[in-house]
Amino acid sequence: MLAGLIALAISITASGLVYYSWRRSGNAWAAAAGWLLAFGSAFAWVRALGAEFGVSYAIIIFTCLVWAAVALNVEATGAAGQSATRPLQAMHWPGARDWGRHGGLFLLSVPVAGVVALMLSVALVLPLPWSLLHKLTAAIFLYPVLWGALSAWICAQDKLARPALVCLGLAAVSALLLFI
């Protein structure tokens, strides 16, 4: 109980310092101390609740406390920024060219990126000197992050040719590593 209260106090201080540093236009000492305490609070939470629950709580509590600080900082600005009188018009349906572009982007960023990331994540972990279980676990957690990163990059491109070529290249290299 006491250990939990100490951990909570550290999290509150950490979020308070981070908020204070922001209010003081980037007070570096307060910011550094706040972030240090935020990471340090994980140890206190681990001591209070054990390693697994403790790390989870350190993240959750800090996030909620920071949101509370954001809520404290609310500025009422009315409904600024939106236009109440914008005209209502008929739906604009994209032409064939737009459909093609969006369809291609979807194919590349979702299924193609998914397959490429799957191959790449397995290809990256297979050569590691770990047990099969560890390789599999690493690949399982790496896969969605790689897929996400690849999708984000593909969607940021102006033209589809470059991401298509990169996907093809990554798939080819991964296939070489996996199957040859």
Partner: protein
């Protein structure tokens, strides 16, 4: 100093917008239903307040009732058969097959047919979007992976992340307010959102991963790789279909005196290879359970090793509890509601920003409130028909969603339509509580019934309040039907 080049910020914003628009609706459905799913046990208890409740587990009573259920002519044996033990959230014992179940009375006799369809309705929506299992799992998991894409592109598209760290201009539904809400919730919630994305992606993608590993390792087959993650089951023969539950239970309590007994599964119950597996949650660990295995006579065979094995195995078995917040008791669930709702709001506000940014309004402005505010209404209506009349309500939910999405096209003013949906949701929730009181009488006021009813009434009040406040303060009502 700005670490991100303007070009990178611009292209990241393009990426974030495109992905957000493509996924916003789907993400919203998954996040809102996921937030509700945190309370699936409470909902299941609420669905049937008439079941007898007790936290006590008498091994002999448990054995007698389980064997009675297993040998009953009314029971259809399936591959897995279950004996679910009572816990503080759901203090009732249940015997079940893969498709149906009965609650167990305190004296061990078989009680009411167990109804958990409302709970299943919302977990099903979250886990598979009510699609066929494989397709649904993969689709929802892919959304988890693409949430990673949104988080990455969101950070890269946000050059003033430090400068705006605590800025929040509340402007009703105005663009600035929506932007600040979206960015503050998204940025500070990112560690939790990444955790949800990665753990959410696990379920549908693990099978693909195992398949690719198997085909990439010389001489390996999928079973070989599977058994690296899911320890092999004991190979038994000639197991009688009479279960020594009491003897096994005593052994489980001896082996894990502080563990929380979850349930017993009889695997291969429809064959002579059947065996019993007790799932027991271990204190202080996030792994779902340690599993104690027995033959049907109650002879101990060993553990599956989920909490005693390598750290990687434990990490994999922790995914479920991390994703759904089922650790640390009720307080953790409340935190997960806040965090889950934050992701829901981020999903909705992202699309709101895009709609507000446009110089014109069109059908999309009218359809979107039907998704955001139509979903609680559709959930309320489907819960009503399922809980009160036991009508299978998946189609009712999706039908209501279609009606809600198209309704705005007739109202032609999204702000008015949003308020109408809020009021209708409030009314639906009040009617649900009234019908529940009428149907279950005094049982509706037991600990099984009143907490959820109270929450439903509070939610109804919240929807009425939001509609009232919007009516009073929104200048949007002036938008009219300016077509």
């Amino acid at each position: 100093m700005n670490l991100l080049s303007q070009k990178l910020v611009k292209s990241s914003l393009t990426s974030h917008s495109w992905l957000g628009l493509a996924l916003g609706g789907l993400m919203y459905l998954i996040c809102l239903s996921g937030t509700l799913t945190i309370f699936y046990e409470e909902i299941e208890r609420w669905e049937q307040p008439v079941a007898e409740e007790s936290l006590a587990i008498d091994p002999m009573v448990a054995e007698a009732s389980f064997n009675r259920y297993m040998s009953s002519s009314e029971t259809t044996l399936t591959e897995h058969m279950y004996l679910v033990f009572p816990n503080a959230t759901l203090p009732r014992m249940k015997v079940a097959s893969d498709t149906q179940g009965r609650y167990v009375n305190r004296d061990g006799s078989l009680g009411e047919v167990a109804h958990d369809e409302v709970s299943e309705l919302w977990t099903g929506l979250h886990v598979t979007l009510h699609l066929p299992d494989t397709l649904g799992f993969v689709l929802v998991s892919a959304t988890g992976a693409l949430l990673c894409a949104l988080i990455i592109s969101g950070f890269l598209a946000h050059p003033s992340i430090v400068k705006d760290a605590f800025k929040f201009r509340s402007g009703g539904a105005g663009r600035l307010g929506q932007m600040d809400l979206h960015n503050r919730l998204g940025v500070w919630g990112a560690p939790f959102h990444v955790m949800i994305a990665v753990t959410g992606a696990y379920y549908g993608l693990v099978a693909l991963m195992i398949g690719l590993f198997a085909s990439s390792i010389d001489g390996a087959d999928p079973l070989f790789v599977t058994e690296a993650v899911f320890p092999a089951e004991p190979a038994l023969v000639n197991q009688a279909p009479v279960y020594g539950v009491a003897r096994a239970l005593e052994k489980v309590w001896e082996l894990s005196p502080d563990g929380k007994l979850l349930y017993l599964i009889v695997h291969d119950a429809d064959s002579d290879n059947r065996f019993m597996e007790f799932y027991v949650q271990q204190p202080g660990l996030l792994a779902w359970s340690e599993n104690y295995r027995f033959d049907t006579s109650g002879n101990y065979l060993g553990t599956a090793g989920y909490t005693e094995g390598e750290a990687a195995l434990q990490a994999l078995y922790s995914v479920y509890r991390i994703h759904f917040g089922h650790f640390g008791g009720f307080i953790t669930k409340l935190f997960y509601v806040v965090l889950g709702l934050s992701l829901t709001v981020v999903s909705a506000s992202g699309v709101n920003i895009w709609l507000e940014k446009r110089k014109y309004r069109d059908g999309l402005n009218l359809i979107w409130p039907g998704i955001v505010w139509g979903m609680p209404l559709a959930m309320g209506v489907a819960s009503f028909t399922q809980a009160i009349f036991h009508i299978p309500s998946t189609a009712i939910f999706w039908g209501m969603m279609i009606v809600a999405m198209t309704g705005g096209l007739f109202v032609r003013n999204e702000y008015v339509y949003k308020r109408q949906l809020q009021v209708l949701t409030g009314i639906t929730l009040v009617l649900l509580v009234l019908a529940y009181l009428f149907r279950f009488g005094a049982d509706a006021l037991t600990p099984a019934g009143w907490p959820v009813n109270l929450v439903l009434l509070c939610l109804a009040g919240l929807f009425f309040f939001m509609a009232y406040r919007a009516h009073r303060t929104d200048a949007y009502a002036m938008a009219g039907t300016a077509a």
